[in-house]
Symmetry: C2
Subunit: 207 residues, 2 copies
């Protein structure tokens, strides 16, 4: 999710055990769940590897988001609810703070989380889960096909979407979100994919 592990990175059980200080059972349970969400790939007798989505899968993810998110935001703008507005406003503040401090991984994390919070605001548990999966995969894809550093959500589009929701403008909110998704997608270079490297040390280093 924070793009600290490159796609195709091998995740050895023993390594993960000592990294997180837990038994093999916990690790295997976690790997199974991650693979069921398509975040890693579990190859029989060969181990776990960070998923490496191809062009087709990337398009699937964006198509699914285009299908779900616009009507979601439209609906939210029609009837936001005070609690949701407070939560989202607070989130935007966090994003701004992280952007000011130039904390890269935090910015990436929060950028994704904004979209999951939109889904959470719908109050629909299923849609919330779906969106969480979609956002995670989007992070993977941006990490793979992201051409430059502006890969994370551009500028303050999140803030503008929230403003549209606050002013009960479903049309505008929907339109802004569509543009936002398009910006993310058009910032990708679908042909030249990033070189898959093996650096699990990234996690070890900061732990």
């Amino acid at each position: 999710m924070e793009q600290r592990l490159a796609p195709n990175t091998k995740l050895s059980e023993a390594r993960l055990c000592e990294t997180f200080g837990v038994g093999r059972m916990r690790i295997r349970r976690a790997l199974l769940l991650l693979s069921s969400q398509g975040i890693i790939e579990l190859q029989s007798n060969r181990g776990a590897y960070v998923a490496c989505p191809d062009k087709s899968e990337a398009n699937d993810v964006f198509a699914a988001r285009m299908l779900i998110e616009p009507p979601l935001v439209r609906q939210l703008a029609q009837n936001p609810g005070d609690v949701n507005l407070a939560l989202l406003t607070n989130h935007i503040a966090l994003e701004d703070a992280a952007r000011k401090k130039k904390e890269r991984t935090e910015i990436i994390r929060l950028s994704g989380e904004f979209h999951t919070k939109l889904a959470q605001a719908s109050g629909n548990k299923f849609i919330f889960r779906m969106m969480r999966e979609l956002v995670t995969r989007t992070s993977l894809i941006v990490g793979l096909f992201g051409s430059s550093e502006n890969a994370s959500c551009p500028d303050d589009e999140h803030g503008n979407i929230l403003k549209a929701i606050q002013s009960h403008d479903p049309e505008l909110a929907e339109q802004l979100l569509i543009s936002h998704l398009n910006h993310i997608q058009s910032g990708l270079d679908m042909e030249a994919r990033q070189q898959p490297q093996d650096d699990l040390a990234a996690i070890l280093g900061s732990d």
Copy 2:
């Protein structure tokens, strides 16, 4: 999915082991995956129970389907593709055959599968997975809140939807599907839920 296990049925590991003739590890892996899909509930130190969705979760599932399926079918009707039409036509034939033979569990299974095949026809792997989960949960819900036996998809609505797709009529297809979902939902009695019983013997009997 076939409604042979009532909600809240306890799924003991030992029982499942001897039923399927596999080790405890396999069972636990399967239970973990099922719980991640919301089909069963894993209570810590207490075991696995068939999920028992409440009114709110049931509404979530239908709301999610209402969000996703209509635009999906509309899109499919605009550009079906010969392979998809063949697959769907073949599926309708299977449904008819099962209905003629009055094979209840088969009818239930195929009724759900029709919707997942609609999603499969979109060619989007994500949407396919989502729909499969939604359909499974719908089966659970119909089993819980279904008032009479006509709970399974009424008459030949599936066939009509397919016809609309075949004749490239997106509006009609979308409208028929919306009606179809409404029929399913309105056939439920959201208040008086079925009595949760414990009959894992159902599986043992037919195995």
